[in-house]
Assembly symmetry: C2
Homo-oligomer: 242 residues x 2
């Protein structure tokens, strides 16, 4: 299985890439009151990591993030956004890469570029996890959704990177809601509140939530259809087009 390492084995100095600089993608998945995150498992060592990679010398940073996420996970057309740069010395831990290389039949030279210090630019995205099919690339055995409440131990500072991404997601939810495209075209206030409660991981009070959402000016309320039933049908909303 040493072919899994071919691209890196033949490029021990990382030629063509910007040294010391990585991108890591925190891809959150939402569906039906569940919030998950996409993790990879390294071939043979089984260590968990975020999908990540490197920036080509001739590539825009944002394009590198898209390419890396797509190569690692098979996901395309996802909206990735920068959220933070992780640049502490303490995050440098070459052990998982050494172990991975050794397990795959090649003891790495200590000067191998992947064993040096990396500063990582974090990107995040939020997708409906029922609408995509993650597929690992050849250096990983798996690429799957994991519950945020029971994450495994990840390499380096990847658990902290997820935590920071989640903070950002929660803080930006109002602004990003339309772009994330996580609700059906028509939805009730109750469905919208469930989405918020799942992502914020707390119960919200309906009148205050409804008042806030209506004040954002991003919702159109549709005319009620006569239901004929005995119970009052809820109002239905869609995102305002503008």
């Amino acid at each position: 299985m040493t072919d899994k390492l071919a691209p890196k084995e033949t490029n021990p100095k990382g030629e063509g890439f910007i040294p010391h600089l990585a991108v890591d993608a925190v891809i959150f998945g939402f569906h039906d009151n569940q919030l998950k995150v996409l993790l990879m498992q390294y071939s043979k060592t089984g260590r968990y990591a975020l999908p990540g990679g490197f920036i080509q010398q001739t590539e825009n940073l944002d394009d590198a993030a898209k390419r890396v996420a797509s190569e690692r996970t098979g996901l395309t057309d996802i909206f990735l956004e920068q959220f933070y740069v992780f640049g502490d010395i303490a995050r440098h831990d070459p052990a998982p890469f050494s172990a991975f290389m050794a397990a795959n039949g090649k003891e790495p030279d200590a000067s191998h570029w992947l064993l040096q210090r990396f500063i990582s630019i974090g990107y995040f995205a939020l997708v409906d996890f029922t609408k995509v099919s993650p597929t690992p690339d050849k250096i990983f055995d798996s690429c799957d959704w994991y519950d945020l409440a029971s994450l495994p131990q990840l390499i380096q500072d990847h658990n902290a990177i997820i935590h920071k991404a989640l903070e950002t997601l929660r803080a930006k939810l109002d602004d990003k809601l339309i772009g994330f495209n996580l609700l059906p075209q028509h939805f009730t206030m109750s469905e919208l509140q469930s989405l918020y409660e799942t992502i914020l991981d707390k119960k919200l009070i309906r009148p205050a939530f409804q008042r806030k959402m209506l004040s954002l000016g991003i919702l159109d309320r549709l005319a009620k259809k006569f239901s004929g039933g005995a119970h009052k049908a809820p109002y239905v909303y869609r995102f305002a087009s503008k």
Copy 2:
């Protein structure tokens, strides 16, 4: 004046620094309804730039940003925060550095590390510009406050970096207000509103502004002192300690 270039001249490969990676600091200054930004002017060529620099191999990223801002401007103890990474290929423009080196008596080799592509990590801060004394380091002739409404043309994408920092400052003003430390210990709602209006560059409606500020839960209203005058004294606030 070639001594101005000494540290770089003797280090054409940028040894000790992470290659291709820079930090640039957008330091906003506020006082008395004015919002300004701190710019440097390169020695001899007179080109304008943000205070910026590089990350040592053995230095945490955030420490590098503090050190660079302090070395360039003389300002210490300012709270710098990451806001965005500028990594497009199109931002690469070595001309200002070539011109600067040539003007200072040294034609640079095309392989000089400073002429290569850089990805820049943007940091921003907001200070009271009457409380600090900017002092340029030796490669700059000046370090001064400039009105945002009439900025000069800066090198590379530095005007765009300022624009993005301003967007971030405006979006985060509620959260960062206490840390910025821009108001006297006791202030009126009117003074607070002026600060917001200056930074947001728009007029706000008092009742809505006051309602929003009080709802943030960051203000303590002090007991009114009997003024003895015929006019009603305004309420005075301070930031809640917690």
